[in-house]
Symmetry: C2
Subunit: 401 residues, 2 copies
């Protein structure tokens, strides 16, 4: 058995980013940039007015002065002439400041009438003018390769005149649930069987993490069926299986894939829930074999699959973010396996988060998993802790899963 850290390191080092594809700007949100975005324009393209008012020569725009309004400059319609002595141009936010003017008289500080404007508050040189290039200049790198694009980044790329973006292709993750006992929701349930949940939860997790899930038909506990489905998934950037990863006679994933050339890296991790986890490669396709218990499958997906999808997407693939919280109940001493306790998160009297484990931690309990707001981390051989002690927690809401 290897440690959680060692397992994640070995998984990540076996993965590299998908190639780039061109997508329309409007489809770029939440994708990972494959090439930097450099500005194709200077913004603003000239000195522009930051307010509605009058473009003036500051030296003469003293309180009480009267100026002749010689024209108007709305945004997008530059005034063609020059502001000479004793003159002003009516101007609006975003409009180019006409030559000759060096400040904006706010309309609140002006009294207009009869083609003239009277200054009611003295203007300082340069006031309310946004200088050319204040935001960015042509050729400047605005967004680096490897950045996950926010809505604000999309706005910035638009302003920099990009209609297209080069992003990493969303990793296609094949998902293969195995087992004679499972049926799709709504389908007839075999005697002694249950409804399949892992593939659907994992597909949603893949989507939440920026991947493109490909849910394969359920494979029965039969070596040839598993091998056929796995071969069909070679077009994926990664194949994820659930079930069949344990040590029983009916745990078939390794046995089925071996004759197909499966190269095993490791298959046991010192953790709970989720000790039996397969990692290897089928030809060029990385294969992650998750346990069949739904809670084990999801906890392993949080620890290993989400970072793996990030790495495939062009990000480094960090461990899940943790927060410091106070234990809401006493915690027993831990054994040699890294434990992940399903817990609620609340805000304590002093504003600190309080993580309280559910009394039942059985790895089959989906209802508890659905209600959990975090996973309390318990390192191997961690001592017993009283209520109120500090613990590290993975907040699940963060991950959108």
């Amino acid at each position: 058995m290897i440690s959680v850290e060692e397992a994640r390191r070995r998984i990540l080092e076996g993965l590299s980013a998908t190639p780039a594809e061109t997508v329309p700007l409007a489809m770029g949100w939440n994708r990972i940039l494959a090439r930097p975005v450099r500005s194709r324009v200077t913004q603003p393209p000239a000195d522009v007015s930051a307010m509605d008012g009058y473009a003036v020569r500051a030296a003469e725009a003293l309180e009480g002065a009267r100026l002749t309004v010689i024209g108007v400059a709305p945004a997008g319609h530059p005034f063609a002439g020059t502001v000479g002595p004793g003159e002003a141009v009516r101007i609006f936010t975003g409009a180019f400041v006409p030559p000759g003017a060096d400040a904006i008289l706010l309309q609140e500080d002006a009294a207009a009438g009869d083609g003239q404007v009277r200054v009611t508050e003295t203007v300082r040189p340069g006031r309310w003018i946004r200088a050319r290039g204040l935001d960015f200049a042509t050729g400047e790198e605005l967004l680096p390769a490897g950045k996950r694009l926010t809505a604000r980044d999309i706005g910035l790329a638009a302003a920099a005149n990009h209609a297209w973006l080069a992003v990493h292709r969303a990793p296609r993750i094949g998902i293969l649930a195995t087992g004679d006992e499972i049926a799709l929701p709504g389908d007839p349930i075999p005697e002694g069987g249950i409804v399949s949940s892992n593939a659907h939860a994992l597909a949603a997790l893949v989507r939440a993490s920026g991947g493109d899930p490909l849910v394969l038909p359920i494979a029965p506990d039969d070596r040839e069926a598993i091998a056929a489905a796995a071969v069909a998934a070679r077009a994926c950037d990664m194949l994820v299986t659930t079930g069949g990863a344990s040590v029983g006679d009916h745990d078939l994933v390794q046995a089925a894939l071996g004759p197909q050339g499966f190269a095993l890296d490791f298959w046991q991790i010192a953790m709970r829930p989720g000790k039996p986890l397969i990692w290897g490669r089928l030809g060029a396709t990385p294969v992650l074999g998750l346990p069949g218990n739904p809670v084990s499958a999801m906890v392993c997906a949080v620890l290993f699959l989400i970072p793996a999808i990030a790495r495939l997407s062009g990000l480094p693939g960090e461990p899940p973010r943790t927060i410091r919280a106070l234990a809401g109940a006493p915690l027993a001493a831990n054994d040699r396996r890294f434990d992940h306790l399903r817990a609620t998160l609340a805000t304590g009297a002093d504003g600190q988060p309080v993580a309280t484990p559910f009394p039942q931690q059985d790895s089959s309990m989906l209802k508890v998993l659905s209600r959990a707001e975090g996973l309390i981390l318990r390192a191997p051989l961690a001592p017993a802790l009283p209520a109120g002690a500090a613990v590290e927690v993975i907040p699940l809401g963060d991950l959108g899963i």
Copy 2:
């Protein structure tokens, strides 16, 4: 001018949830449930084995005992008989426990051979059996209406045998950018013009918030063009405009919509950036008029549009979540407008977050907005603060925008 809180209250009270639609389970992730999910099955459907081993009668499974293996029970293939005195059944994780047996002997605690199994560690009654209904029972409400569905919830709904879900329709948000000076990325830029960024950033923000953006063609600064585009957007659950919301002669949204029956609620908020914000109704369609400055538009979208989309989606529509941080630089005293300073977020020496405002806070600067990790909240008339003082911050990464 009204306060930020009052503006949000008036926006939210004018909105209600979209009607329900039926979607396949696989499309339910991140949607808001319109009807509760009740279980259609009991899980597990019978007492099942939690491990691989042997189903035994605990009273006789004492260390050293030998039992006759009378059959096998893989998951999905229940053993047809009964476990009698001196007997055991080979069993695998998830398989129904056969009648007569009341505990599981772990395979690690057993030595098998010649059709028999020898007990190497005494078994306790009930050990390694998951009782029928441990997770949930038929008819139980598992997921309430109004819940945003996580990947784990999708797994739970699947296990409860739901192939379809009733969720609120994703709110369709029309987005209308106005202005003679703006051009689409890649299109010819008019003299004195710039590239349009707001509509694209807002469309991404709408998508990040669970809405369905409908980006309308840019409307020039012309009353009839704006009126026509607005009328075309009546099919939307909300129309969002950008630009034309200020007090200049060229701020046309109110003037253009008035003759179409626009009922104004308010149009100025005591905040920065983003004082001019229109809220009203065009027939049955709520209209949110955002400022044209890109930073103002995005900050107003964080404060008002994201909660509005949440309310339309079937959620209450809360203010953005804030965190407590330490100011990374001294902050000047504030005036009467609620301020939102673009800031970086870092982790300080003691593990607390530190929010440092960018030196330039001009509302035209998209590059600064893109690099900001949070908005420092400065209430009206807030006093000057030294570096290290506690401040409230909206973390932007949280919002996926």
